[in-house]
Amino acid sequence: MSGRMIQLRGITRRFGSLVANDDVSIAIASGSCLALLGENGAGKSTLMKVLYGAIQPDSGDILIDGQPQQFRGPADAMAAGIGMVFQQFSLVPALTVRENLLLASPRAPWLQVPGAPGLDTVLEVLSRLAPDLDPRSRVADLAVGERQLIELAKVLNLDARTIILDEPTSVLTPAETQRLYGLINEMVADGKAVVMITHKLADVAACADQTAIMRRGKLIHAGPTQDMSRQQMVDSMIGAGSPASASPPPLPERNVPRVIVRELGARTETQQIQGISLEVASGELLGIAGVVGNGQTVLAEALAGLHPLTAGDVTVDGISVAWRPTPPVPDGRVAYVPEQPMLNAVVPTLDLAANLQMRDIRRRPFWQFGRHGQDDVAARLKAADVRPPEPSRLTATLSGGNLQKLVLGRELAGEPSLIVACYPTMGLDVAATRTVYRQLFAHLARGASIIWFSEELDDLLEYAHRIAVLREGRIAGIRHRDQADRAGIGDLMLMHDMARSA
């Protein structure tokens, strides 16, 4: 396959007052893998969406082998052999694997009865990537790693020569990650160009021979990976002179369990947990690792008293806080910080004041004349660093970081004994992440117990006192901070995967 050079030259793109890309120029060569490295919000996705034709730049151009290109939409980019695998898959869960591939393939036959010509050609690439995937299975029943392979097959089916992967490893188990690394290296050896958008240094080390680092919309550095040290990369990503990462909280002095989870069981239609037993001491941060889909949501809700239990109990200071058999009245003992706060933690159609004060809805007096306590609300919003601290502002207009701060401001107000936090820093920028950790650690210091669900193994390893691994609805193991490492935790997470791919 003949090589080609793709260049992005002087790309600038604004969203309102935010400069997502500021005069960025990079080059992508065939037969190489470029890691586009940067923190959340650095502008990496925007840049690649420009290349993919999904977004139009305000200025700058795209060149292929020196020829300027006009991508009015993804169709043009696809015609030029550029394909993108997004973080949010564009697969249709209710359809089968084969149907999804047929959908994405312009050469699919109109008549799709078994035995029709052309029906199986769409499956050729996928059968190489994932030989034991049944094309008749519904995508909804597949694991995330497998879905990603289908997305990749979709892109390759269109004869893509340049493949962009957006944060591909963020949803994979360690085993699936290894498999992906292998595939990337294969594609590179095959002469394709791969661009990997990521914020993880492990990804860079595994497959990228070129690295471009972005921060706040600007290209900070670009060049061969081996020319940069790890520390240099980190400094470029988060900027030298920025405050050091939050210091991990000290281990609690006394190890008396305050929160006792005993043989917990709960079930939804898609997930279930069984036999969960945990103990968390006062001032202890227990991390729960595990790939999404192993029962995290059910467990978090069960702990917070928001989901009925089929077995077991959760007690805080000896008092049961679980839904068994009736829902507990929220009394401030347990704070719950759910994932995707706009969806699960607030009512977007109400104002900030309503969302901030929501916890006492059942204890309020019946009549609510007059906007009482508005000054108090404004003060609380300021204290929580919510911007803008306007009580009557519509909650839907808040950015992710401010929204999370609002939720924390509400949940942590009553000095809770147990805080259940689910992916609290997902999608937040560095500053907001800092604030969230700072607040949580402050409560730790005051004696609260925290159960923290996270996908970022590195963060868990750095800050949690102990890490429990949730796998298929059970606790696969618990490790102390001193004895935990990536490989060990990964083992606990993946034993299932090994059995499946064996």
């Binding site: 009512v347 159609t349 809805i361 019946f366």
Partner: protein, 344 residues
Amino acid sequence: MPNLAKHERLAGAALSALAFAIVALGFFAVIGEPPLATLLSMVEYAVGDRYSLSETLVKMTPILFCALAAIVPARLGLISVGAEGQFHIGALIGTGMMLWTQPFDGWLLLPLVLFGGALGGALFGWLPGILRARLSVNETITTLLLNYVAVLMVSAAVYGPWKDPGNLGWPATIAFPDAAVLPQLFGTRVHAGLLIGLLLALCLHVLFRFSRWGQSLDILKGNVRVGRMMGLDYRHHVVIVMALGGALAGLAGIGETSVIQGRLQPGISVGYGLTGFLVAWLAGHNALLAVPVSFLIGGLIAAGDTLQLFNKIPASSATVLQGLMFATALAVPGLIALWRSRRG
């Protein structure tokens, strides 16, 4: 139209009214009537003199109740179109109450009959409510189907066991005794039900805006899961708003039957249920706004009747106009948004 400033909403409403006027003129032209003259005639027939005004108010009364019957569930985000059925069952049970208390007399009669009406309507609100709460059955479909059942139940009663032979074959019950009937006002056909309706609209508005209950409904409507997190029981509230809405429509039913019709018989409603739903929608599901809007639509329907009498234009034109009004009200926000995006 959420998330718009007050003046934007006002402008939108004015635009809708203007758009509807144009559409109405178009309709008249299509059916071969002089557009402007007919429109003006309708206005005159609605409020032109004392009699017209009283007829408008007569129509307004059940429409207002049926609008409230749709508004209360809508506060929880439920789309209930069951007012027509709840109207009929309210009339049924209220009439049953009248028949049952026949031997007696006294001031208790009226409240009992009204209570029967509310109870009947509440029943046909409670049923879809409990289905929604327990089994997540869509309340729009259940209420729509129950409407037909209710109308047939009334027919079954008045063609059958409750038929008064004194009506010489006409399927109807005996007449309501005076003690069981709401007093009429100023010698017109307008009855005290209107005052009750106005009072209820005001009370509901105050409750929605200024009570813990109203705030709970806001939370649950916006996000059920979050409401549950705060200790609110969605199912409980579903049943309450549905039953309450039904009770309101039931009151409309017994009111119309006892005062205006005088007895239970087929045809006690001319689509008040659906009209009430329209009013609720046009009023933005605001209980106070439902009052002027139901006045307007009441005028429309009353004028339609007169139009049939004097101008020989069928009264169904009022139904068409209502449908066109609904469509216009739905179209205008979208058109505004399109116009805005075009301007960049």
